[in-house]
Amino acid sequence: MGDVNVKLLRRILVGFIREEVTKVGIRKAVLGLSGGIDSALVAYLAAEALGPENVHACIMPYRTSNPESEAHARLAAEHLGIHCQVIEITPMIDAYFSRFPDADSMRRGNKMARERMTILYDHSAALPALVLGTSNKTELLLGYGTLYGDMASALNPIGDIYKTQVWQLSEEMGVPRDIIEKQPSADLWAGQTDEQELGFTYREVDKLLYSMVDQRMSREELVKNGFAPDFIATVSARIQNSHFKRRLPIIAKVSNRTIDRDFRYSRDWGK
């Protein structure tokens, strides 16, 4: 996977946000700003598409979140001049887990992601604004996200670009250097990094995903191109096992027209 034409990519993604938001009769967008590069990039794209006055960011830290994350989120919001508010999720999360004190970090992390989702959707109704998704293609394919949590959105401008391309486009958009250069992290506990948790780097896996998904190389071709068989197997399994996260819930079919199976309409129906 070579470099991407970032100017062209920017134009398509900005146009996407502008058109898909305004065609439903809404002017605004709301998104969660984590302090990481993905949400920062989406904020930059949205500000360009809708004007900074129409972009609302929520910074939603938990008490164990790295303070640097909030600082980076504020930095991006201030740089763009978008609306920004901090909504701590500690009281909601702690109230819930006081009933389940033994819950592990996965349950806690998922709950936090879903708490943030409910806040964004509440703001979606209040403003009104559409919720922008901030999951990139790498994490969507690997299933490295929380279903109905950070994976939930009305529109996702970056869901078809890999992390490597997120970095490239962020440079083009002028996302602050500190945000581009820091280690990607879900920030669920101190010192956590994505690459440590995944067991490979984004650059490595993006090359493999691009060859496997976009170029549809066979396993033999992938091996011939220098990808380790174990690595191919791990990544293939991750894609397959997380596929449920990329689909709507399945419906038991009994009628002649079942939603999404033989009742098929684009979402932009009438728009």
Binding site: I12, F16, Y265, D268, G270, K271
Partner: protein, 295 residues
């Protein structure tokens, strides 16, 4: 106004073509008709003789189960209105056509002087990748050239153009202008200057014009449907294959171009490939291949 059909001498006539690069709304017939009508008015104001719209201009592209709901009979009031408007300018427009036996076609009509002069039903319905046309639509069965007051023409709808035989048949049937209505989804981003789909189409329109010594009017749409962008870039290609004019990428546009009638004559003298093209050899060999496939 020139006479409606003029076979001899028409090739050297200059005329103005307007490619209406619009952004239809998905499934909104009434609004799209208004959109089309206002583009026609602008084209007339710009003194256009012919205005071309994209594939499925009256309906939008990713219709899926909406197909039967937005389909029009040829005697529908929407078509009658276009016929009326064609008293001022010749019009090529794409829509979903329903036949008396309830087949639905991805169709294009050439309308002039208040009458439908020709209808083309898309033959090659892409059903792969992001396309699913054959699930919802019936396949057209013919490619036919037809006479217009700008010389003989042939219509192609998007994927039709990717089948070498389609423009070839039209050119062999005497078409010297190929009108291609398109809804081409933008995809294939890379380090290159253009999207993969843009680069491929630009190669195709130019090469087709060059191979067949014919003009190509390519009209693509813009806008987004469910996250899929349509990249625009409509173009007028000279019979030599060179780009005469090109509309904006991604944005709505009305590309008004004066077509030099003499260019076709000169190109056909300069490189008479179509004159030398042997229909009998082609037919003989195709029949042999067809016969071989039967066994």
């Amino acid at each position: 106004m020139l006479p409606l059909t003029e076979k001899s001498g028409a090739y050297t006539v200059d005329f103005i073509v307007a490619l209406a690069q619009i952004k239809p709304k998905l499934g909104c017939l009434a609004e799209n008709c208004t959109l089309v009508e206002s583009a026609i008015e602008r084209a007339v104001a710009d003194r256009a003789d012919l205005v071309v719209f994209p594939e499925l201009a009256l309906t939008g592209y990713f219709l899926k189960d909406l197909v039967p709901d937005v389909a029009l009979r040829l005697d529908a009031p929407e078509i009658a209105r276009i016929r009326e408007l064609s008293r001022h300018v010749a019009i090529v427009v794409g829509f979903v056509e329903v036949s008396d036996d309830y087949r639905f076609f991805n169709s294009a009509i050439y309308v002039d002087g208040g009458e439908i002069r020709h209808i083309h039903r898309k033959v090659y319905l892409p059903t792969y990748g992001l396309f699913d046309e054959q699930r919802y639509l019936a396949r057209g069965e013919r490619f036919r050239a037809f006479d217009t007051r700008f010389g003989r023409m042939g219509m192609l709808i998007c994927e039709d153009m990717w089948h070498l035989s389609a423009p070839y048949i039209l050119a062999m049937d005497g078409a010297t202008t190929l009108v291609c209505l398109s809804s081409s989804p933008g995809r294939g981003i890379s380090e290159d200057e253009s999207l993969g789909s843009t680069a491929a189409w630009q190669k195709l329109t130019s090469t087709t014009a060059m191979f067949l010594n014919s003009r190509v009017f390519y009209c693509n749409r813009v806008g987004y449907e469910d996250g899929v962008n349509f990249w625009g870039g409509s173009e007028v290609i000279a019979p030599s294959g060179s780009v005469v004019s090109r509309a904006r990428l991604f944005d709505e546009d009305l590309l008004v171009t004066r077509v030099d009638g003499g260019e076709l004559r000169r190109e056909r003298i300069f490189s008479p490939m179509m004159r030398d093209e042997s229909l009998s050899i082609t037919m003989k060999e195709l029949r042999r291949i067809e016969k071989g496939r039967d066994c």
